[in-house]
Assembly symmetry: C2
Homo-oligomer: 225 residues x 2
DNA sequence: GTCTATAGATGGATAGAC
DNA sequence: GTCTATCCATCTATAGAC
């Protein structure tokens, strides 16, 4: 369905296998790599693991992406752009809804809701989010450089928060934004497991809108103090 | 000074080098490994890197620790125990100070202050803390199993918080504890760098008692909501 | 574009001399 | 306990047939 233009298939005498969309293998590699990296870590997953998982030959990674690191970087860029787009869209809607001056709560919702919605195992985004969280600690030098220097999307959130709390010293606003990001980056499989053990099953992360509300409540209270 | 009993040195005809404390090499390896792991990550640092950094021979890691993973686990266990001891001690003092029922703020201080004090570059703990933070995302299976199952030290904090806020649904208490831990785990070199870039130098993490106060303020507000 | 085969580098671990 | 030399597994990347 999503493998390109299927109208070519009928006329090809060589059958279906040879006329796969030229991007099919590339997409298989991309998806397998993202999943394995997200679950097992960047360094522990080899090109062999990826190609075996994708069911393609070993040389595919280098042919389609040049190198393992380039593949990593491409996944990172794509998912980062998608997440930032969702966040900025929500922030923009909040700005319009509040006549140019969104509340702290509306800003925090735009920051928090998109990545938490990605946690839903019923959706197609859980793997991408775990990949992005992992890239923060294990990323290549290129990825860390991108994270360090590209603060353009956070810039908007910081400016909105500064405008919403002009009475606060700016460094307080920045520190609190840092704390909220820490809350978000902690949403890993392993941390949920630990919390689940500690609470003896009381905490279930299945209710994502509820989790968003809990996080926004907590963060908002911290910002309004 | 700390390399054993120096009184033996004067009588040894073979000189200083051969009569080093038998633990000297072991300690050199331990320290070099912790530092390299903390800065560069667990997978990226090889046994060769460690022994070169320590100025000892390649076989030292296997002789003194058995394997690279065992060395990692030993560092992890030692630093985890030290951090937990400092936290539990502060919690115990808060319990005594408050006649058995410490406030939310006192509990949070016991949870937050020790690891943030370890951030001080003037102290000897900065590397250990970065190692511990990294172990959360990159740890071996043994380390992750230890993190998952050994919640005995967090158990005390959770119980204290449940007692301090008996009016809250327990799952709310657990989630908020999870949020506070996220704030703590985000205190990595790279995240401070990013925050520093975003705030154009306004946020300086040099004032650790100030940072503790900011974090406790934020977390307390979130808990009292 | 796909595949096999392999080059070339690096890793953890160990044997054995001292 | 320490060191050198080395085994052997594994990795990334590429050459070259199809």
């Amino acid at each position: 369905m999503t493998d390109g233009d299927p109208t070519d298939l009928g006329d090809d005498p060589e059958g279906v296998v040879e006329v796969q969309d030229e991007a099919a293998t590339r997409n298989l590699v991309f998806a397998a790599a993202e999943r394995l990296f997200a679950v097992h870590g960047f360094q522990k997953v080899s090109v062999r693991d990826i190609t075996a998982e994708a069911g393609v030959n070993l040389a595919s990674v280098n042919y389609h992406f040049g190198a393992k690191d380039s593949l990593l970087l491409e996944i990172f860029r794509k998912r980062t752009a998608e997440l930032n787009r969702a966040r900025v869209k929500m922030l923009h809607e909040a700005v319009e809804r509040h006549g140019g001056r969104p509340t702290v709560r509306a800003i925090l919702e735009a920051l928090i809701a998109p990545p938490v919605r990605w946690l839903d195992p019923a959706g197609p985004r859980l793997i991408s989010l775990q990949f992005l969280i992992r890239s923060r600690g294990e990323g290549t030098e290129q990825m860390r450089e991108a994270l360090r220097s590209d603060v353009s999307h956070l810039r908007r959130f910081a400016d909105a928060l500064l405008a919403a709390r002009p009475d606060l010293p700016p460094e307080d606003v920045y520190w609190r934004l840092h704390f909220v990001l820490g809350m978000l980056h902690n949403n890993r499989f392993a941390e949920f497991d630990r919390l689940h053990t500690l609470s003896e099953g009381l905490t279930r992360e299945a209710d994502f809108e509820g989790l968003i509300r809990r996080m926004v409540d907590f963060a908002e209270a911290g910002f309004l103090a």
